[in-house]
Subunit: 214 residues, 2 copies
């Protein structure tokens, strides 16, 4: 062995949150971001129209289909997918810049995006699936969103079932029975992932001088 | 896919804490055990003499060499090693009983024991290496243990360097700068490991009826 067996450098973490819509993922993500200065959100780009209250650049980057397709063709999307009639994607540049700046990046993407991102990120990715405590609870929350029509709610419930069928592909499962408890669980996952040997940034200098004697 | 793609059952976790002596591992383990009813300690068996204050059955099971060797020959040790002139080992039966009873088990063992346990436990094992913030701090703490002779302190420092050289074999690294912070970090690791998909015990029933549609 050499005198410097394992020099540790910062490896930024890509943390994925997926869930069916209505399971509380957005609330968990907001609380998580507010509690952690080292974590930044990856803002997705979409071709769908903004909903009331959505802020461009914060909730989504809103673009037309032509611009979206140009980004895909230029290789500027880490992942992208078509959901219903709209395109969604993750621009690569802000993610690379955040990781290079020592930040960890949070992604709010679906199972298709996660599969693509997993191939790009490998061991730098940790994925969490948020499940509702019961299907009825999910339906109730989706119906409360008055801005959606009955038909959209029905499509969303079908999509929720499809999305949830992918929970076995995720590293961690959080059942969102209580918002504060779920946030605490996601914080624990983030804390633990940062303490993983290959991501530890706070190791004392002397460890680099340790000589393996086996 | 079948209608029940992934039925979840409880898989107990084996959590290993290793560190050079003097790095604070025992204090961390005690606080962790006091804060978590689902976690029980694996009590090692040793042939060394009890030190003042050590309680048989709590700190160690103290046995003679003949009894120890009989346990090894009978396959009753999950791992065992000789350190200086003494034998140390982990009896398998209490660990199996605790896991079968739905508990997680905490191990305070060295790198040799961890290597052996890793082969026996596979994915049910998560390992944490506790590092001191500086080598000088470690030496100071070892010297404070007035019960040990100078020669023993010297041997322990050499052993500490050897033990620490194995930190790259562990899943997580905790640098013990502050006891409460280190305990919080180990608690976060334990929380996260329990939320891993393959260990989750709190999933709602409906997930077993989800049909994969890909």
């Amino acid at each position: 062995m050499s005198a410097n067996p394992t020099k540790i450098r910062r490896r930024g973490l890509m943390l994925v949150l997926s869930s069916p819509s209505g399971a509380g993922k957005t609330s968990i993500a907001r609380k998580l971001l507010a509690s952690d200065e080292q974590l930044v959100m990856s803002v997705s780009t979409t071709t769908r129209a903004p909903r009331p209250g959505e802020v461009p650049g914060r909730d989504y980057n809103f673009v037309d289909i032509e611009s979206f397709q140009k980004m895909v063709e230029a290789g500027e999307m880490l992942e992208h997918a078509k959901v219903f009639d709209n395109f969604y994607g993750t621009p690569a540049t802000p993610v690379r810049e955040a990781l290079a700046g020592g930040k960890d990046v949070l992604f709010d993407i679906d199972w298709q995006g996660t599969q693509q991102l997993r191939q790009a990120a490998r061991s730098d990715l940790a994925s969490i699936f948020i499940l509702p405590p019961a299907v009825e609870e999910l339906e109730r929350r989706l119906k409360e969103r008055a801005q959606d029509s009955d038909e959209v709610v029905k499509k969303r419930m079908a999509k929720a079932g499809d999305e949830m069928s992918h929970w076995p592909e995720y590293d961690y499962i959080v059942v969102n029975r209580n918002l504060d408890q779920s946030v605490a669980q996601v914080v624990a996952i983030l804390t633990a992932e940062r303490l993983r040997r290959e991501r530890q940034t706070g190791l004392p200098d002397f460890v680099n001088g340790l000589r393996r004697q086996t």
